[in-house]
């Protein structure tokens, strides 16, 4: 596909961080806080603990079977048919996530900044931008992520610093929120908030050296989980337990609340720019990855022309849910619950079969 490969650790780090790291700034905290109350910041920790063995196992397998990406690995271990079937299922789930997540982001943009504009137009523009950037290819995406990362993280860091004034640390108590068993259950059920880790493995062979991929993904995932937990914690200590469950967009609520002294009030638009940039990056990467998975499953080497139809269908299907609350609280919640067992278990299945076949002894 690509003759020259330039991507290194830092690009992988940026990809992981941007693809997953923005989750603290969308409706994920609202979804989790509904159930976990002020202990909801513990949920991603549980989720991460659940996901990490599967992820490490998958990396281990990829390392063993050199120079194969996710779908090729599936085909090698499971045989062509079952491998492709599993690849297709992964693709379908990931694509549905893309569709409903993007709708979700579009609703946020509409509600918060462009209330008069029709959803369809915003959605269309949003995916158009994502499509154009994704069309530039994986190298450009990786490089852009690396360039954009410091800007986005700077804005986020500034926001955290400004809001810290409003923080009341005692609000983290009672420590376990709605109860330890609920936190654990939700943590396990919602492990798929980290499922993008698995999708990224489709790009395993596209780095200068596969060790860059591994290194970048370790660093990136560690960074991401710390970032998400810290921000969830920040929401807890700023909003307290009864309010946090009622706020749909805590990130934007915070940007509206803070100001720079008496002179610079109403500064949310400043943060909106970086947030929007982060959101674009996420969907550029996401769109490219799922198209790639689809292309590999159906042996389409030149998959990049498929980006346009996929972007188009995202808009068309994404418009179906009636409103953002149904989209978020019903569809996304169910989707997260359904995906979790698949993504947590399939690396173990692969490992077990590979072990039985004796491939791992080499």
């Amino acid at each position: 596909m690509k003759d020259y490969k330039t991507l290194t650790t830092r690009d992988m780090f940026a990809l992981v961080t941007l693809l997953i790291g923005i989750k603290f700034a969308d409706t994920t905290p609202a979804l989790l806080a509904q159930k976990g109350q002020n202990g909801f910041w513990l949920i991603p920790i549980v989720s991460f603990i659940v996901v990490i063995p599967s992820f490490l196992l998958l990396i281990y397998l990829l390392k063993k079977y050199k120079d194969k990406n996710l779908v090729e690995l599936l085909e090698t271990i499971l045989g062509t048919f079952s491998g492709k079937l599993l690849g297709l299922i992964i693709f379908l789930l990931a694509y549905s996530t893309l569709i409903f997540d993007s709708r979700n982001y579009v609703e946020q943009i509409k509600l918060l900044y462009y209330p008069q504009s029709p959803t369809l137009i915003i959605f269309g523009l949003f995916m158009l931008v994502a499509f154009f950037c994704a069309k530039r290819g994986f190298e450009v995406i990786g490089f852009t992520s690396w360039i954009g990362l410091p800007l986005i993280k700077f804005a986020v860091f500034l926001l955290a610093l400004l809001v810290l004034r409003e923080a009341v640390w005692n609000r983290i108590f009672p420590l376990f929120g709605s109860g330890l068993n609920i936190i654990t259950m939700e943590g396990v059920k919602n492990s798929s908030i980290f499922m993008e880790f698995f999708l990224l493995t489709i790009a395993y062979t596209s780095f200068k050296d596969t060790k860059f991929f591994r290194r970048g993904s370790y660093l990136g995932s560690a960074f991401v989980v710390v970032e998400i937990v810290l921000f969830f914690l920040l929401y807890t200590i700023v909003f307290d337990y009864n309010s946090i469950g009622k706020i749909a967009f805590p990130f934007h609520e915070i940007t509206q609340y803070i100001n720079f002294g008496d002179y610079f009030t109403n500064i949310e638009t400043f943060f909106m720019v970086f947030w929007l940039f982060g959101a674009f990056m996420r969907f550029i990467i996401f769109l490219y990855l799922i198209t790639w998975i689809f292309g590999t499953v159906f042996n389409i080497n030149e998959f990049e022309p498929l980006l346009l139809p996929f972007a188009f269908f995202t808009v068309m299907i994404g418009m179906l849910p009636e409103n953002s609350i149904i989209n978020e609280m019903v569809i996304r919640d169910v989707l997260l619950d359904v995906m979790t067992p698949l993504f947590v278990l399939f690396p173990f299945l692969l490992w077990f079969i590979a072990l039985c076949k004796g491939d791992l002894k080499k």
Binding site: F176, L180, F239, K246, D262, N266
Partner: protein, 416 residues
């Protein structure tokens, strides 16, 4: 045509982007409501909304707008919620109203006591326009009258008036920090009391005998300046106003609540030697009050509060030599501590008996005794724990300073 020319032509289409999108609105087409007032009507579920719209052209030295335009326009209409009232207002206000720059929301005491306020504010916070930093002010009279009668003498720009007035009064601690954010936290947390700013334009019988902060708005004897007074706080329990605290009690709440801070607190204390005089001093608190709660199930809860503070004496009208006489200093120290402790004890007694909850946000300190929310809610801070608790307040004066004068002139030597 070459490719280059086609590209050039296509790039012309980029100009279309410049006209903007659906949400484009010129600054001129908007009017900014800086203050929002809500009053009750006779009908349930229908309220009177007052919008104070600022005139952005006033106060510009650069000129521009005509000089005769008033600094603001205040309009009132009825409606069931803020947003629909805003569109009704457009039948007599020429521009689209936005709440992006709203600084205060004023509710009449009547409405606050009826308990309907929480519904109004909840439906308002559903929109993205109302910010969580908007301050809640309770006015003694009708909110519409309050807003109509605000006539700042110097600060003609209404939005700056509210911003500075409230920021400054908050610094001195005589009014609480009462933004919507805090209102929701406390009301939804359902344990503590929320304090809103209390203000009025109406002069009541001035209370001539009170010390500097023992007033509520309207009682302060003053001449000149604006008639509008911000002083004291309205106490909200579960979203319903139940009482008014004077400036002194509000300051004490600041002292006891570690989530609020205040910059300076100039106050007077009784002179322990010449009782007819009072000593004025600057109260400085470097660290927050320390609250220790000893909670055991089925036992009386013990709450120990220690407030470390420092005093910088500013004036000793009695001319007693406190600065150099160690013995007198001890007496002064003790008298200040006792004075504060007594005031705090009175306030706490009142909150325990009358309100059966407290405005100091102390429920935060008991939360670490519980491992999850259901257990915490079952223990019921404001019904079971706080009203029956044993509370001791200990003010601890760490340092007594005397400014830059060593001693006052002895009057008998001057007037001989």
């Amino acid at each position: 045509m070459t490719v280059k020319k086609i590209r050039l032509l296509l790039s012309l289409f980029l100009l279309f982007l410049l006209v903007g999108c659906y949400d484009k609105i010129e600054l001129e087409q908007q009017s900014y409501a800086v203050a929002l007032g809500v009053d009750q009507t006779d009908e349930k579920g229908v309220y009177r909304f007052t919008f104070q719209i600022t005139n952005p052209e006033v106060g510009y030295s650069a000129g521009g707008g005509s000089a005769d335009e008033p600094p603001n326009e205040t309009v009132t209409t009825t409606g069931s919620d803020i947003l629909t009232a805003m569109s009704t207002v457009n039948s007599f206000v020429s521009k689209r109203m936005t709440l992006d720059h709203t600084k205060v929301i004023v509710i009449s005491e009547e409405l606050a006591r009826s308990g309907d306020f929480i519904q109004i504010i909840q439906s308002a916070s559903r929109t993205t326009q109302i910010r969580r930093a908007v301050q809640i002010v309770v006015s003694k009279e009708k909110a519409a009258d309050f807003l109509n009668n605000i006539k700042p003498k110097m600060e003609a720009r209404t939005h700056k008036y509210f911003q500075y007035m409230i920021t400054r009064a908050k610094q001195t601690g005589i009014i609480p920090d009462a933004d919507i954010h805090r209102f929701f936290q406390i009301t939804e947390g359902d344990a503590d009391l929320f304090l809103a700013i209390y203000a009025t334009n109406e002069k009541s019988e001035p209370k001539e005998d009170g010390n500097e902060d023992e007033f509520i708005a309207g009682e302060i004897p003053h001449e000149g300046g604006s008639e509008t007074q911000f002083m004291g706080s309205a106490v909200f329990k579960e979203g319903k106003m139940i009482d008014v605290l004077d400036g002194q009690a509000t300051r004490l709440s600041h002292v006891l609540d570690y989530t609020l801070d205040m910059d300076e607190l100039l106050s007077t204390y009784p002179d322990p030697i010449k009782h007819e005089y009072r000593i004025s001093a600057d109260y400085i608190q470097k660290t927050a009050a320390e609250v220790k709660i000893d909670y055991q199930k089925n036992k009386k809860t013990k709450i120990d509060v220690t407030v470390p503070f420092q005093i910088e004496v500013l004036a000793i009208p009695s001319l007693v030599d406190y600065a150099q006489n160690i013995e007198y200093q001890e007496m002064l120290k003790q008298s200040i501590e006792e004075d504060l402790e007594k005031k705090a004890d009175d306030l706490i007694k009142k909150t325990q008996e009358e309100y059966s909850s407290e405005p100091f946000y102390w429920s935060l300190f008991i939360r670490n005794e519980f491992k999850d929310v259901p257990a915490y809610e079952e223990a019921d801070w404001n019904k079971k724990i706080y009203p029956n608790a044993d509370i001791t307040i200990n003010f601890d004066l760490e340092r007594l300073g005397f400014g830059k004068m060593l001693n006052d002139t002895n009057l008998s030597e001057v007037r001989d």
